[in-house]
Symmetry: C2
Subunit: 310 residues, 2 copies
């Protein structure tokens, strides 16, 4: 992986950086930003870490996560934008940005940034930051290693998705040697559910209905009240029915005020972004969503119709 010379020059020339990532930050956004901040500080630079949204509770095991702030800096440092490539995704539409660099691996590329390092072949922004830190000749400390390992783990499903390759495993082996603990990171990512959340999952799985390779599950307001949970607790629920071989689309319906939020997950060739767009929603090929005002029976029938049409 080739780090742009202009990015290395920017980092060497400037003394203070404004590091930001997308709203609703995930493990790759947080881990890669924190790793970059820690590395630049080890080089004697100053950094301000910004996210419009707070660090989700289950990511507060990340070393130095408390460096994130929702206050914008005011002294015009260059921006380094990670894991997205337009200021709107970071809630920075109205901010004056004198100079900007982008480090991202997403496929949809916007025309933003004086320096644009966007590599859709990278499994995670975390692996790009790893190569940047190596190119700068900086030490991978334990805190940097833990952040980078988490970033890569989250975006590869800990080495289960099709972006997993041997290079990635070798980089992660080095991160382990630098102090990242794979078991405790996995524990934090996958085995830190509350009992309430687990009991809600069981209730949701009990609603399973399968029609034409589409798995339907739903959660009602009553189920939230009964288990003492909230919408946040349903993250990843839509992935479970994908465990079944013949399920091509998993559709998870969540009741909101007078409507249903529908989360779609697919395997293989089914493009759920296109289906969600028909309902004025959107997303990626294998993960998308939309909102519909209808009773659940009608909502399911309309979805079946759209999937059969695609």
């Amino acid at each position: 992986m080739r780090v742009p010379e202009k990015l290395l020059a920017l980092i060497n020339d400037e003394n203070s950086f404004f590091i930001s990532t997308h709203i609703n930050p995930d493990g790759d956004a947080l881990g890669s930003s924190l790793a970059l901040s820690l590395a630049l500080e080890s080089l004697g630079k100053k950094t301000v870490l910004y996210d419009r949204d707070r660090v989700p509770e289950f990511y507060r095991f990340l070393p130095a996560h408390e460096k994130f702030s929702a206050s914008l800096p005011s002294n015009g440092q260059p921006l380094i934008l990670l894991d997205c490539n337009e200021p709107g995704r970071a809630g920075l539409d109205d901010v004056v940005l004198p100079y900007s660099a982008v480090i991202d691996h997403h496929e949809t590329v916007r025309d933003f940034g004086d320096i644009r390092w966007v590599d859709p072949h990278a499994a995670a922004t975390g692996i790009m930051v790893y190569y940047l830190i190596k190119e700068l000749g900086l030490e991978i400390t334990q805190n940097i290693a833990t952040n980078l390992y988490t970033a890569i783990a989250v975006d590869t499903g800990t080495f289960r998705y099709s972006n997993t390759n041997s290079e990635l495993l070798r980089v992660c082996a080095e991160l382990i040697d630098s102090g990242a603990d794979p078991a405790s990171i996995s524990l934090a990512l996958y085995e830190a559910w509350s009992e309430r959340r687990f009991r809600l999952l069981i209730e949701v799985l009990n609603t399973l209905e399968i029609v034409d390779h589409i798995a339907f599950t739903f959660v009602t307001k009553e189920m939230f009240i009964g288990t003492g949970t909230t919408a946040e607790d349903t993250e990843h629920f839509s992935n479970f029915p994908r465990m079944m071989e013949h399920v091509e689309v998993s559709a998870f319906f969540r009741e909101t005020d007078g409507a249903w939020k529908v989360s779609l997950r697919s395997k293989g060739s089914v493009d759920v972004a296109r289906i969600a767009e028909r309902f004025n929603g959107g997303g990626h090929r294998n993960a998308a969503g939309y909102k519909i005002t209808a009773d659940i029976k009608t909502a399911k029938e309309e979805l079946i119709k759209e999937i059969q049409d695609v």
Copy 2:
């Protein structure tokens, strides 16, 4: 990892081998046995692969899995016993075994075998077989790589358990370079469930009861009949309750003829191998099992007592 000279000598001296692994075989048992068989055959040797139980349907993606047979050979070849260290675990109690070698990573060690290579520090028997194949100077073909990668993936929760380390990731990187496809193996392991199996999981999760950081679930014969499933469909079921932060031990009870097979999984410091040994079972620190003849209420109470005693 040091491969015993006597084992290398045995393989070089003999021309035909009887390879066997434990009953109710899992991915490490199957993958490591198949990899060894394929490697020995590339060396011009003959092998007979034996398991008393058939290869579970969801492991039939393993290359060469059809080599497994439930027929015992009769011409007295040396036995190589994998992923267990006593003939009873392989259903071989009544078989005359003129000469035997053991390759295993389990902690509970019995006094069996003319050559005994038992390394509880190895994450999987698959990684021991990897070093054996390297030591023999044989090529890791794509079929061998897929079997070894699967063996290691299964026994480390694809690099999530505490037996994951940097050496393991480097070996798996090499296996990917030799043709193992991490994404398609993960798909086969985690997203190829039958609907029946998924419905059985939901029924099992509905039995969840939590006492003192111990999560209890069970499956009855009736539930198997109702869903059209068998015991082999319950692999991994005991892992699900571990998703909860405060659960330290997950105990899954499976009804057999007049008894319960108990599968224990733990997080952190709880040593379930020691607990299983009190019931004449065995296993690893974080994954063990035993059999008990009692009604389920008594069986649960006795387990709680033992865990509190440890």
